[in-house]
Amino acid sequence: MVFQQKHILGLKELTAEEINLILDTAESMKEVSQRDVKKVPALRGVTVVNLFFEPSTRTRSSFEIAEKRLSADVLNFTPTQSSVVKGETLLDTARNLEAMGATVIVIRHAMSGAPWLLARELESSIVNAGDGSHEHPSQALLDLFTVREVKKEIQGLKVVIVGDILHSRVARSNIWGFIKLGAEVRLVGPPTMMPQDVEKMDVKVYYNLEEALRGADVVIMLRIQMERQGSGLFPSLREYSRFYGLTRERLKLAKEDVMLMHPGPINRGVELSSEVADDVHSVILDQVTNGISVRMAMLYLVATGGGNA
C-alpha cells in the first residue's frame, strides 16, 4: 500500500493499516541504524525543518538523527533565539521557513492544534512532534513498535497507562494507537487528572493502581510535571507517589513478562522508584533506540508518500 497522508498530525487520523505500514517500514529503518554507515540517500536534497517551540533535547535529537540518516538537509529552528520573541506569529515563522525551501516541517508546540494550523495554511508536509496536550504520534508509534518487537502481536494485550492523563499527549496518542491495533487499554490516575468522558475512547478508567496492574502486559508510566503540584489537582508529590508511584511490589501484580515503558525523562522516586526504572522489565532505553527508526519511517513515508509524489 502507498502511504497517502501528506501529514502525520496524530494517530486519531491514521488507520490500523497505515500504522502497521509505519511500523513495518521502521523495521527496515532499524536495520540501517545497525550498519557501519548509518545512512541511506532516500531524502537526499529534501530540506526538513525542526521547528521546536518547546525545549526538548531528546525528541529533537531523535528527529535530527533520523533526518540525517535519511540524508536530508536539516534546519533546527528554536524560536526563543529569534523573531518569535519579536512578536512574529507562528504562521509567519512557518511561512518564512517554507519560503526557504522546507518540504517537511517537524513541529513541537505548547498549544494543542498548532500543527493543524500549519497543515491548513502551508504547502509543506507537517509532522507533529507533540502539540500541547493533544497528540505525540512519534512517541506512540515508537511505543507500539517496541511492544510489537517483543510481543509480536498487539491484539489482545492489556496495556496500562498511569499518570496525568488529562495533560498528556503521549496518553492520547497511545490510546488511539493501541485501541486501533486491538489492545485493551486501562487508564489509572487521580480522578482530577482523568479527562472528561475519556471512557468514550473505549478505555477502562481506574483510580486504584494495584487493581489496574493486575495481569498487565505493558505498563506505560507518564511523567508527572512538578509544576502541577499545588494546582489543586493533587495535594503533594508525596501523596501522588504513594498512591500512583510504581514500585517493584506493585509491578509484580502484572504479568511476569510485563514490559515497563516511560516516554522520559523519568522523575525517579515520583512516578517510578529507582529500582524499578533499572529493572529487567524496563524497556525504556529500547524505546529511545526505536525512536530513531520510527521517526525515520515517518519522515520517509511522508516525504515520498501520496501527498508529495
Binding site: 494550523l117 493533544h134 468522558d197 475519556v198
Partner: protein, 427 residues
C-alpha cells in the same frame, strides 16, 4: 419622502397581525395600512417597494452586539457594524461596553451616540458598564450613563465575580428602570478554558469550560435578582442547566429574561474538531443536549429573544493557535437564515420567531420599537424566507469575517432594511 410597501405579508407580533397588507410610511413613521393603493401608487414623491411574495416585519433588534469602537477599530467600527446590521435585517443594535476606553462613563456613551448619529445607518443603543473598567471592583457611574442614553448595564466579556458588588449593582439600577445584563461565567471554573468541556475537548487536548461555570453564575444571579427585585437579563445562554434554572425562576415569578445566539442553537462542539478558531466563542458552543434544551427554551418562552453577540475580529487575530485566538463569531449577517431554520424545524412559527427579534427585545430595554403600529417609527425589514443563500464571508459588510458558517447553504435573505422611513439596505 413617502414610502409604500406593497403587497407583502405583514407579520407584526406586537399587533398580532399576520396577513397580506400595504404599509404607507410618511415622515419616517408608519402612517397607515391602505387597502386600495391604485390611486396612491401613481402619486409623486412616493417610493414604492414591491414586497409581494415576501415578509414585511418590524426591523429586527439585536440586544447584543460588539461594535468595537472606540478602541478596536481594526475589528469593526460603528459605521461598518451598522452596515452589517442593516444587511442582516437589524434596524436597532444594542452595543456592549467592552470598548477601549470602556463605556463606563457618560462621555464614552456620548461619543458612541455621536458616532452612531453621524455614521451609523441603524439605531444604536449603548449598554453601560456595571463596574469601572469592567474590572469588577467598583460601580461605574450608572446614573449618568443612563441619562446619556444607556439602556442597560453589563460588564459583558466578564462576569461580576464579587456577589456583593453584583447585588449592589442590581439594587442601584432599580432607580433607573434598566436591566442588568449578566455574562454568566465563573472565572475560576472556566479557568483558561477555550472550548466546551466534554469528549471533544478531551480528544483535542484543549482545556474545557464546563457547563457548571455558566450554571453556577446563572443560579447566583437569579438568587440576587430575587433578593433585589431587579430586572435580570441573562446574556448568551448556552447550557441545558441554565435553561432549566431560568425556567424555574420564571415559574417563581422572578423578573428574569434571557437570550440565545444563533450559533448556540445551530452548532455542537464537534464543529471545533479541526481546530477552527472561527468557532471559538465564549460561552463556547456546547453539546447536543444543550442545543436541544435551548431550542426547547425558545419554544416554551424561557428564552425571550435571539441576540447575535456579534463579535468581529480581524483575520490575523484568528489565524493563530487555538489557545491564542480571541473568542467571537461575527453573527449579524447570518442571524436571519440560521433563525429561519428554527421555523423549518418546527421549533417556532414565523410570527413567534419575529417576536423574539422585535417586540420582545424592545420590551427588555424599554424602547418604543419593534412594532409597526400606526404612528410608530418606521423601522421595517422586508425579507424572503425561502430564497437559498450560500454564506460567503467575503461578502460580509462587517469587518469581521470570523464565522463558522462560511459555505453553509441556508435559506432566508434580507431584501430591504428601512430605518426611520429611509431605505438603508437593499439586497
Amino acid at each position: 419622502m413617502r414610502v409604500l410597501i406593497k403587497g407583502g405579508r405583514v407579520i407584526d407580533p406586537s399587533q398580532e397581525i399576520n396577513q397580506t397588507a400595504n404599509i404607507l410610511i410618511e415622515d419616517g413613521k408608519v402612517k397607515s395600512f391602505p387597502k386600495d393603493i391604485k390611486k396612491l401608487e401613481k402619486e409623486s414623491d412616493l417610493q414604492v417597494i414591491d414586497a409581494r411574495g415576501n415578509i414585511v416585519s418590524p426591523g429586527f433588534i439585536d440586544l447584543h452586539v460588539h461594535l468595537r469602537e472606540p478602541g478596536f477599530e481594526h475589528k469593526e467600527t460603528i459605521r461598518t457594524g451598522c452596515e452589517a446590521a442593516a444587511a442582516g435585517g437589524f434596524t436597532s443594535v444594542v452595543c456592549m461596553p467592552n470598548t477601549n476606553p470602556v463605556n463606563d462613563n457618560a462621555s464614552v456613551t456620548e461619543y458612541i451616540l455621536l458616532k452612531a448619529r453621524t455614521e451609523g445607518i441603524v439605531n444604536v443603543f449603548p449598554i453601560g458598564a456595571i463596574t469601572k473598567g469592567e474590572k469588577g471592583e467598583i460601580l461605574a457611574e450608572i446614573g449618568e450613563m443612563w441619562e446619556a442614553g444607556c439602556v442597560g448595564i453589563s460588564d459583558d466579556g466578564w462576569p461580576v465575580m464579587n456577589s456583593n458588588l453584583m447585588r449592589h449593582a442590581m439594587e442601584y439600577v432599580k432607580a433607573y428602570g434598566i436591566p442588568v445584563i449578566s455574562h454568566a461565567e465563573d472565572l475560576n471554573l472556566s479557568a483558561d478554558g477555550v472550548m466546551n468541556e466534554g469528549f471533544t475537548s478531551t480528544i483535542l487536548g484543549l482545556r474545557g469550560i464546563p457547563n457548571a461555570s455558566e450554571e453556577v453564575m446563572v443560579s447566583r444571579d437569579i438568587t440576587l435578582a430575587e433578593l433585589t427585585g431587579a430586572h435580570l437579563h441573562i446574556a448568551h445562554v448556552s447550557t441545558a442547566g441554565a435553561v432549566r434554572l431560568i425556567r424555574d425562576a420564571n415559574k417563581r415569578g422572578v423578573n428574569v429574561t434571557a437570550e440565545a445566539t444563533p450559533h448556540h442553537f445551530s452548532l455542537t462542539d464537534k464543529v471545533v474538531l479541526n481546530y477552527d478558531t472561527n468557532a471559538k466563542v465564549n460561552p463556547p458552543i456546547r453539546g447536543e443536549n444543550d442545543v436541544e434544551a435551548i431550542k426547547e427554551g425558545l419554544k416554551d418562552g424561557t428564552i425571550d429573544v435571539i441576540a447575535t453577540d456579534h463579535a468581529p475580529h480581524s483575520e490575523d487575530e484568528k489565524k493563530v493557535e487555538f489557545d491564542l485566538a480571541p473568542f467571537g463569531i461575527s453573527g449579524l449577517e447570518t442571524a436571519l437564515p440560521l433563525s429561519l431554520q428554527l421555523v423549518k424545524d418546527g421549533v417556532l412559527t414565523l410570527p413567534e420567531l419575529i417576536k423574539k427579534l422585535t417586540v420582545s427585545p424592545a420590551k427588555i430595554i424599554g424602547i418604543d420599537r419593534g412594532t409597526l403600529k400606526t404612528g410608530a417609527i418606521a423601522d421595517v425589514v422586508i425579507f424572503d424566507p425561502d430564497k437559498s443563500v450560500k454564506v460567503d464571508r467575503e461578502k460580509f459588510r462587517s469587518k469581521g469575517k470570523n464565522t463558522p458558517f462560511h459555505g453553509w447553504e441556508l435559506s432566508g435573505c434580507v431584501l430591504h432594511t428601512i430605518v426611520g422611513g429611509k431605505v438603508v439596505f437593499s439586497g
